[in-house]
Amino acid sequence: MMKKIFTAMMGAALLATSATAAFADSKTVKITSIVEHPALDAARKGVKDVLAENGYVDGKSLNWEFQSAQGDVGIAGQIAKKFVGAAPDVIVAIATPSAQAAVAAARGRIPVVFSAVTDPVSAKLVKQWEKPGGAVTGVSDMLPLEKHLGLITDALPHAKTVGVPYNPGETNAVVLVEGFKKIAESKGIKVVTASAPSSGDVLMAVRSLVGKVDAIYVTTDNTIVSAFESVVKVGMDAKIPVFAGDTGSVERGAAAALGFNYYDIGRQTGQIVLDILNGKKAGDINVQGVEKTNLHVNTESAAKMGLSLSDAMVKKAEKVVK
């Protein structure tokens, strides 16, 4: 009995060969994501849109396939192997676990373009951002920390120290704070950190910054963002402008933020895919960070924090909260 079922299944498995459409000039792009959620889905849509705008239309000149691992790393590995076995022109992998599985399975024989991977170097997808070599490149969703610092110095040209409250237990937060410190110090700006291990500690942590800093910057640290109102309160009481790493916090009272969206990250990824389809080598394409950012400002909050935003900045803002 078991033998029969086993043979039947193996037979079915071998029979279900994926019939690759054999258009002479059509390209095959296989895309996978570790899970489906709005940000990652937007990234996927961005890739597809760019390809369509450049003449690679799904079902005609493009053979497009999407598989979601639905949160299961084991399935991510199987998807990666399925893709590699089909020998597509490009494999696009969204988020770190999917990207690692794709790179491990492709072994440099098929170009892999990752998307929405925060730190591709420590994820060992590439050796470096510039000319990564091999057959892997892509787009990181690392916060554009340099631009964030630029926003602060634009709004506050005389700022000498910036305070950053963060949760030292949140890996993502630690990476961002360390990156921000490096960039700020290279520009002669001091960073003072305050640790808040839980959202209940945020108020005290931010208060400890009063008197020491000219501005407060909050990254996408979940702990601090979840208690963002505390940060705003201290900012207003002590007249210290608060800047945020995500635009959602502007409505909650941050003076200004430069955010980005995952659709744009997907579009950047799509551009890389396009370059590879047009004959460029993945290893010659630099890994990219977030390029397009949207400025959101809150003029009322800014005024309460003793900051008058310049007309130019308000004009530039995509959204102004009053």
Binding site: F6, S68, Q78
Partner: protein, 300 residues
């Protein structure tokens, strides 16, 4: 389905066969529903990945991962045996605690292993076959070794004691078996195996990830039950082989589900398709038996 995808399914099946054997010990031998595995698989992966990155030999790193898994199992069993917490709850507690532990072990949510030396590297240089043949072959060797050792263990005096504990704890105790020791040992052994699977998984997959453990218990149970449906459970040898076969079948089913687009199914239907196929695989043998019986009655 391409050869790479097919061998990939076999490879993942063999790998999760180790998990299935671990689940078999807790769930079937000891009758102890143990959800620790959702935490001990990534624990094994995290331990091995971190040690390998820091220069440890990958084989030694696998042993360290097994030790870490055994420790996790001991915690669960101890919570149950000594503190009297319900087994299911005890294992859930260890599982959630392991999430934090795993973050601590790696120091971040993802530890990459791409380009590092793994236990598979020496074999790739030794065996003159494409890489996608080598990993399943090495895994087959590992799982055969585990099957032999496990069967020797389960037919030893201690193994028999463990089986008696699972079947009828009170009776076993009356016979002078220390059921607490049996549970502690069994759950530790089970999680050591699951952690080994995690360690090997990280080395195949290119890294350990904090989300690796999600749903491992379901996959393990599916493999055990599929094995029982396809292979007899009459002897312990057949039952353990069944776990491995069940795990491979499960992965082939997943691979089929991944190729189900030709009947209009899409990526988001994967888990549904997998569940339906597993249900079919489990119920078909019974249905066929019934059908055969009815036919023989009619014929008589």
């Amino acid at each position: 389905m391409s050869l790479i995808a097919f061998l990939g399914a076999i490879e993942t099946g063999l790998l999760f066969g180790i998990v299935a054997l671990g689940v078999f010990i807790s769930f079937r031998v000891l009758d102890f529903p143990d959800l620790t595995v959702d935490g001990s698989l990534p624990l094994g992966a995290a331990t091995a990945a971190t040690l390998i990155v820091n220069g440890m030999n990958p084989f030694a790193a696998c042993l360290a991962a097994m030790a870490a898994g055994a420790a996790a199992g001991l915690v669960t069993a101890w919570l149950n045996v000594r503190l009297g917490i319900l087994h299911l709850l005890a294992s859930i507690l260890t599982m959630i605690a392991l999430y934090s532990v795993n973050l601590r072990v790696m120091g971040k949510p993802n530890q990459a292993l791409l380009g590092e030396e793994t236990v598979f590297t020496p074999f790739e240089n030794m065996i003159d076959l494409p890489y996608y043949w080598v990993t399943p072959m090495v895994l087959l060797g590992i799982i055969l070794l585990i099957l032999i050792l496990l069967n020797l263990f389960l037919s030893s005096e201690m193994g028999l004691g463990m089986r008696a504990t699972g079947v009828n704890g009170r009776m076993a105790e009356a016979q002078g078996i220390n059921t607490s020791t049996m549970k502690l040992t069994g759950i530790a052994l089970s999680n050591a195996m699951v952690a080994l699977a995690g360690a090997l998984f990280a080395q195949i997959q290119g890294g350990a990830d904090i989300t690796m453990g999600v749903g491992v218990i379901v996959v393990g149970l599916a493999a055990v039950i599929l094995g029982e449906a396809t292979i007899s459970t009459r002897t312990i040898i057949l039952a353990t082989i069944g776990c491995v076969v069940g795990s491979i079948l499960y992965r082939v089913v997943v691979a089929l589900a991944l190729n189900a687009d030709f009947i209009g199914l899409q990526a988001q239907d994967l888990k549904l398709v997998t569940a339906v196929l597993v249900v079919l695989a489990m119920t078909l043998p019974g249905a066929r038996q019934k059908w055969a019986k009815r036919k023989s009655i009619k014929g008589a």
